[in-house]
Subunit: 302 residues, 2 copies
Amino acid sequence: MVFKDFEGLKAALGTRGKKTAAVVCPDASALIALARCQREGILDGVLVGDQKSIQKNIEEQAGILGDTLKDLPVIHAPDPLGAAYGAVECIKRGEADLLLKGKLETSLLLKAVVDKKSEMRTGRLMSHLAFLKIPDHHKLIVLTDSGMVMHPTLDQKKQILENAVDALRKMGYDRPKVGVLAAVEKVNPDMPETLDAQELTRMNRQGEIKGCLVEGPYSYDILMSRESAEKKGVESELAGDPDILLAGDMTTGNILGKALVFSAKAEMAGIVVGARVPIALTSRGATEAEKYLSLILARSCA
Amino acid sequence: MVFKDFEGLKAALGTRGKKTAAVVCPDASALIALARCQREGILDGVLVGDQKSIQKNIEEQAGILGDTLKDLPVIHAPDPLGAAYGAVECIKRGEADLLLKGKLETSLLLKAVVDKKSEMRTGRLMSHLAFLKIPDHHKLIVLTDSGMVMHPTLDQKKQILENAVDALRKMGYDRPKVGVLAAVEKVNPDMPETLDAQELTRMNRQGEIKGCLVEGPYSYDILMSRESAEKKGVESELAGDPDILLAGDMTTGNILGKALVFSAKAEMAGIVVGARVPIALTSRGATEAEKYLSLILARSCA
């Protein structure tokens, strides 16, 4: 399966039944996003945070929420770090299947997640997946990593790649196509990312990276435009048709992702994967629409 | 002065009179682009390359070229490297003011340009300027360097920045605004490009980099969206309004430029600056429209 847009991804969730999101420090937008998922039969929730402030938020948004969230369990935690620990405890006890970040510093949430006692780690690196619907592009593009791992080594790139492939396979992709991004398609020892791309391609061919097709180094135009690939004489299944773009480092990924959102008007939502459960983690000031999409993503691979 | 698009840049050339382009190994698209500039009173040309093949190209394009290029001087050079040397000799003798790359390997053209005997170097690094007209964006954006300097040091970044500023000031900009790109707006020792950005900002404030406004590190959204800058509490003349984006390395610049062209549908043209004269240098398979715009750019800062 391959998804044209977020609607397609959501439609594929239809028959999978409900899971439960633990919402850490739920603010109005997180509550509205969760309520929408609940109404659509996709998610239930556990609300973890300061009980009074949660109650206040629910009352203030009553016009939008209606009765949706009224019967959800609330776990009281007076401070944000306590709420983060409370939420991972829910996961540990099997009471929730994914996390949604509300109004707290990302670092606090991650502190609880990476704590050994939380048993949230899997031995895998944690990494960020940005799902992008670029107008007029024929499918969703997953960009990784643009938010978690600054300067990945080859081994870390392998983990980032496998995190993305695992998530997409859980979402229903059969064999995600991974394009390893560089400025050029020729391997050049002066550009270490091209050497890593070659090595990741080899690992995939020799069965060390499974369940996907990996090729690179490729320039952005070869990956994103079949016409450009043809002009340059590149024949590949990846040409114009990747599912995943693997960036050489976080800064490149970050700038690319933001250029797609702010200049190409792409719709974007992100999750963090590599822990025991996916984390719907949006940036400061994310709207409820972004949080909703992020929840859809997390639910799709939970 | 600031330019909304390529038309604006061209209009500003109106009163400046003709200059002369030395065209190295002119192919059909280079000839058509030059003829258009000639008809518009912007450029004359000198054609450098294999005389027979030039004659043949002109005859084959007679329908488009008309009589435009008939009286232009032709300097015969049987091979591409010879043509490159022939063209830089024209510059040296004062017979041409800029170079246009026709059909030859970029490396051969640059070999002649960087040869000490050619006297084309200025002591400055040579760098690439990509001019981008992003749909709905209110002004041209100049991205540098996305094609010449792989891993610039701080001093090289300073030269790349100064090359861009010099070119824009020749084009009529009063005080170009330079945003130094990174993933974040906070300086972080683990992200060397943020340290370089801070240092370039300091150099500008203390008068070591003149004639422009330099600020960074800034994320792409802060630079390209005033709304995003406001949300993040960034108040700056640069917010949403840079003229120049300085990339941390060539790969980042390359991927960003291609994303803007292939996903944001930006119109792009590039030149190489830092040598004694600007070089209109387009990629393999560039159309005459791209070569024409590149000539306009080179003429604008020659």
